[in-house]
């Protein structure tokens, strides 16, 4: 019988127990060669300062985490590396797209293979600060890593959705052939919003999802939700032009036209978190005809922002209606396992009756595209405040929990990362939580490395792992304290037992 297992782990290592940083905006990647190696990022400054920002690294499947100071460009005027995105390729190669802290320019980095304490090597260093929100996707094909970096680029005037692509990022010398392509050919052109997301498939299909503005209004921007497609790893002369919208015969299917999203300036907020532009896209690894997209929508009927999900089963040509709508939510992250389970992570702001607002981090899992109710896993429910009760000051910076979270599928399992308030309170973690940093769950208090001095609450990255196992597989994980006697298919005519010893548990 299949049983689901949910693990939630606070990713802050014990040796930095005293930290109170607002470690928001996370991302995560799983090594396809070894699922026990997982790497994450967030707005975490280097402990002790310096010019190398950290990655979060686990080599035991997410149970424990280490900060590895290997991202160049920290420090400078801002002091912190800005937007970061990481993905593994083949042969345990690791790629990162970052906006450096010292000069806010785009770097595309590589470690092939990833090696602890080895500073990542720049493949691309953009000469001018014109890029926003670099976001990586990687597909392996014929021994090569096809790396796609979605980004928003204002080098030619208005913010334009673009994809930087390399056909062989693993072995080619810098700049590894990275070439940039604009996605949107429609006129009049206003701008794309920051999130430009790619979903490559190993058969060469690459989807790109983005929000293209049609009109600016007082409380929102009207956008087309667009999905573009390439059928050969963007290797041709006109990348991302394989999917033409029958309405205007231009590349990029408009899944929804002129729909509001709360992109405004000054920015719109859900509680402490700014909102207004979210996109996530995921392709079924078993069938590249099937693709899902999630995006931000609102304000509608007094709800500042909702998330919506739709699906195409014919390579983006036609789309379902809304499969799921989540009001007051942000940071959608979609993933599809090799066995067809769809995971949808998001963070929903709820106000319990008589209570204070909270951020609930959900992972919905469906096997039938929400034809029946999905499994709804609440990984965390935490107060929407960075400080103890009574504090009314502002949070430290935007974004509060992040302009995105992340969910990845590896095999038949989901690996996710989200940011939330780090109060050590089991009531905040319905499936339990493991803290590495010093924490007292009875007093709900964090402590420094000595275990004596109290530490204030702040935002931390959390790892969530969702897996399904046959019941006996779960028992195997109990560890060496347990001995098992299993008898299967016992057949006897005459049974004689001289001695039978069964040790159940050693304490």
């Amino acid at each position: 019988m299949e049983k689901r297992r949910v693990r939630v782990v606070n990713m802050i290592p014990k040796s930095v127990s005293s930290e109170t940083n607002q470690d928001s905006e996370p991302q995560l990647t799983v090594d396809p060669e070894n699922h026990r190696t997982i790497i994450g990022t967030s707005f975490t400054p280097p402990p002790g300062g310096g010019s190398l920002a950290p990655l979060f690294v686990s080599v035991d499947g997410g149970d424990t985490w280490t900060l590895d100071l290997v991202i160049p460009g920290a420090g400078g005027v801002t002091g912190d590396t800005n937007d970061q995105s990481v993905r593994f390729g083949g042969a345990s190669s690791l790629y990162a797209g970052i906006l450096r802290g010292d000069n806010v320019k785009l770097d595309i980095l590589r470690s092939a293979p990833y090696s602890p304490a080895a500073v990542m090597t720049p493949l691309v260093q953009d000469p001018t600060p014109v890029i926003d929100q670099p976001y990586l996707a990687v597909a392996q094909s014929k021994g090569k890593d096809r790396v796609f970096v979605g980004n928003n680029d204002r080098s030619s005037g208005p913010w334009r959705g673009s994809v930087e692509h390399s056909a062989d990022a693993r072995t080619a010398p810098a700049p590894a052939g990275f070439t940039q392509y604009g996605l949107d050919q429609r006129l009049p052109f206003f701008r794309e919003l920051p999130p430009i997301r790619c979903a490559p498939h190993h058969d060469g299909t690459v989807y790109a999802g983005y929000l293209s503005v049609r009109k600016f209004e007082a409380t929102d921007s009207l956008v087309d939700v667009v999905v573009a497609r390439d059928d050969n790893f963007a290797a041709g002369a006109t990348p991302f032009t394989a999917l033409l919208d029958p309405g205007d015969l231009l590349p990029g299917m408009r899944v929804v036209k002129s729909t509001p999203t709360p992109w405004t300036f000054p920015f719109s907020f859900l509680g402490n978190q700014r909102v207004g532009s979210n996109v996530s896209i995921a392709v079924d690894p078993a069938n590249s005809d099937v693709v899902y997209i999630a995006w931000s929508n609102g304000p509608v009927s007094g709800v500042t922002q909702s998330l919506r999900v739709r699906r195409s089963t014919d390579r983006g040509l036609t789309w379902s209606g809304d499969l799921v709508v989540v009001p007051n939510a942000t940071n959608p992250a979609l993933a599809v396992t090799a066995h067809g389970r769809v995971g949808f992570l998001y963070q929903e702001r709820v106000t319990p009756s008589g209570g204070a607002p909270r951020w609930e981090t959900h992972v919905q899992v469906t096997r039938d595209a929400w034809a029946s109710p999905a499994e709804d896993i609440v990984a965390a429910t935490t107060p929407d405040t960075p400080n103890p009760p009574g504090y009314t000051g502002p949070h430290i910076y935007d974004p509060y929990i992040g302009d995105y979270a992340d969910l990845q599928a590896a095999g038949r399992e989901f690996y996710g990362i989200f940011c939330a308030l780090n109060t050590p309170d089991l009531a905040n973690f319905p499936h339990g939580v493991r803290f590495q940093r010093n924490a007292d769950f009875s007093t709900h208090q964090l402590f420094d490395l000595s275990g004596v001095t109290p530490v204030a609450n702040s935002i931390d990255p959390f790892f969530v792992h969702i897996s399904w196992h046959e019941e006996h597989e779960l028992e195997d994980e109990r560890g060496p304290r347990f001995e098992r006697v299993r008898v299967k298919g016992l057949r006897y005519e005459r049974l004689e037992i001289d001695e039978l010893v069964i040790d159940i548990e050693r304490k």
Binding site: S15, D80, N82, A117, D403, L449
Partner: protein, 246 residues
């Protein structure tokens, strides 16, 4: 007893390349307490006996065990004590650091500590000097009023937009340059991660304004504050420490 000249020079150079300096006792040779750093002849687990220099967030490493990656093939022996000059590289259950260098524990540990503190102070002064040299003007002044000068709209903005505001500042005295009367200075009012450390001015504030011509003119304002230390609510002593580099 002061350190010898050669030792002092060595300490001075190593301090500049280090972020964590401590006297430590070797506990485990060719060992490691982190899964990401394999044990080898170049690693050892060292107890932090005394910290000579560390940023604030590393001060609690005292009495902890750290794994050192030695700079050379160093045959450590258990219970040996050294002064280690290091830079942190990994933070897991414990910390790991890459050795910059080491010296034998001197007889006069206090002299060593003072030398390290002196070099640290020199480095801070150099930072102040570099910061002063990067400015186009410095004044002591008082904020009269603030206003938005941002031209950003939903069309043009990114999450990292600075959201420029301008402060009208009454100059009390000029420290660098010859500004006088009332001047306008621009600052990023954004709380985005890119700008949250930059000064945020409000009416009535008095202090030292370190001003830059950043090549932009926004709302008619050309002078800007962008560095976290571009506004200092400092007294005359701080003003003097800045003025010495003008």
């Amino acid at each position: 007893m002061a350190l010898s000249r050669s030792l002092g020079a060595s300490v001075r150079n190593m301090r500049r390349d280090s972020r964590f300096i401590f006297t430590g006792s070797v506990q485990g040779v060719a060992s490691s307490t982190l899964s990401l750093l394999s044990a080898s002849p170049r690693t050892a687990v060292v107890h932090v006996d005394h910290i000579h220099y560390a940023p604030g967030d590393l001060q609690d490493q005292v009495d902890q065990s750290v794994t050192l990656l030695f700079a050379d093939e160093f045959t450590a022996t258990p219970n040996q004590r050294w002064v280690f000059f290091t830079t942190p590289i990994l933070f897991g259950e414990t910390m790991a650091a890459r050795e910059v260098g080491r010296i034998e524990v001197p007889d006069d540990l206090e002299a060593l500590h003072e030398m390290i503190a002196r070099v640290t102070a020199e480095m801070r002064e150099e930072d102040v000097r570099a910061h002063v040299e990067s400015t186009d003007a410095i004044v002591r002044g008082r904020v009269v009023s603030v206003r938005s000068v941002s031209a950003a709209t939903a069309l043009s903005v990114s999450e990292h937009d600075p959201d420029w505001w301008a402060a009208l500042v009454q100059v009390i005295r000029s420290i660098k340059g010859d500004l006088e009367g009332e001047i306008e200075v621009r600052y990023p009012n954004s709380h985005d991660i890119r700008w949250h450390r930059a000064p945020k001015l409000r009416e009535g504030q008095e202090g030292i304004f370190m001003l830059h011509l950043d090549g932009e003119e926004v709302g008619g304002v050309v002078l800007s504050l962008i560095h976290p230390d571009d506004f200092l609510a400092g007294d005359e002593n701080e003003e003097a420490s800045i003025g010495q580099f003008v």
